[in-house]
Symmetry: C2
Amino acid sequence: MREGPDIARIASLVGDPARANMLNALMGGTALTASELALEAGVSLPTASSHLSKLMEGGLLTLASQGRHRYYGLASAQVAGMIEAIIGVAEAVGPKRVRPGPRDAAMRVARVCYDHLAGEQAVAMLDRLFDRKLLLREDNEIRLAPSGASHFTALGIDIHAKARRPVCRACLDWSVRRSHLAGTLGAAILDKIIAEKWARREKDSRAVVFSPKGRQEFERMFLA
Amino acid sequence: MREGPDIARIASLVGDPARANMLNALMGGTALTASELALEAGVSLPTASSHLSKLMEGGLLTLASQGRHRYYGLASAQVAGMIEAIIGVAEAVGPKRVRPGPRDAAMRVARVCYDHLAGEQAVAMLDRLFDRKLLLREDNEIRLAPSGASHFTALGIDIHAKARRPVCRACLDWSVRRSHLAGTLGAAILDKIIAEKWARREKDSRAVVFSPKGRQEFERMFLA
DNA sequence: CGCATGGTTCGATCCTCATCGAAGCATTCC
DNA sequence: GGAATGCTTCGATGAGGATCGAACCATGCG
């Protein structure tokens, strides 16, 4: 009964929610580590690792080891194209969009992504930082502008707090499907938001909820 | 954690072997009945029915009721395109082609498809019947030529044995991915092959195994 | 060297879902 | 109407696989 290509095998790899989330997160083109993918998928590290082995074995991912980090990325543009095609069908047949619960709504606005902020707020912030020339786009990379370095330092944000990681990195946003800011700067900004008590993390969730005053402060500093 | 389109849902629909086989069978563009799809997928009718409900609910199929027959077809070209994309990836990552067992090899050569013959033999036969102008292509349909009618009657093949079904129909071949002959004529030819003992059906399989002498007879009559 | 951190493997648990037989509908034929 | 055919629903069974905690490797840091 089996014929040529085993399409069920490939499709079932994408057919698990956790794996689908990982693949979706990788659609931005940026390779991610197992920990990051575990957080994005909302599963534990062992579970994520198991999924990643399967995706590797299925030929959907490539792996680049750098020191003790292992960066997973999509194997090819063909794989990305397949996922796009599936997304297209899912969008076409799924106008039965599930009513987003309050939790989900909060997540869409702002949530933690690994160690930095994600969601509409984060995407808007990155846009503004570009507008204000505090950050610069270079190909697919993000660089800190000279004016930006002094700016963030003046705000009390220590950019080099956690060295040995890139200062700026783009990270594709789930809900908005556009990039937000990762890297040590992204992490430092999230740290400041929490330290200043502008927002608190929702328990057992990745949602980040701003207080009215905190939101004002945040918008004044990053969205102005 | 859920965002817009539920890609895992769609992918998992394709990710079951039985459903994948059904979808693959429908890639020829011909709508098929539940029974035919059950045979193609190698599952029982209840199982097939359950799968078809799921595919319908997922929006991948359309249903056209004609009398007591229910014809299932792919919902859209977009769905077909998605399946093509998945097939492409499966072919690209799967040069680890499983060694075809003897059973599989036999299936590729000749097997039963519903009530008619499929496989390399069947595809070759249809080609020859066109060459000899016993059948005529008309758009996507197949018609019995006048010379064909008398020809088959002379061979002792009763074309009208099971009336109320089209005499000729194209059916996409799994292993060869080209059409073979279905319809009452296709069924009558298979009946003759079995009746003349040119071949026997493999137990618990769809494979059709020709005897050396039977193959000679068959080739003389249909592949000459 | 020992410690910390990023990842994987192992083992046990649990749950979803594919499967089929039997029974039930629906439609058509006689 | 009654019988036959095509298909679906129901119920019970079983297997695959997703999940996580704990233990185990590997790499880099002091």
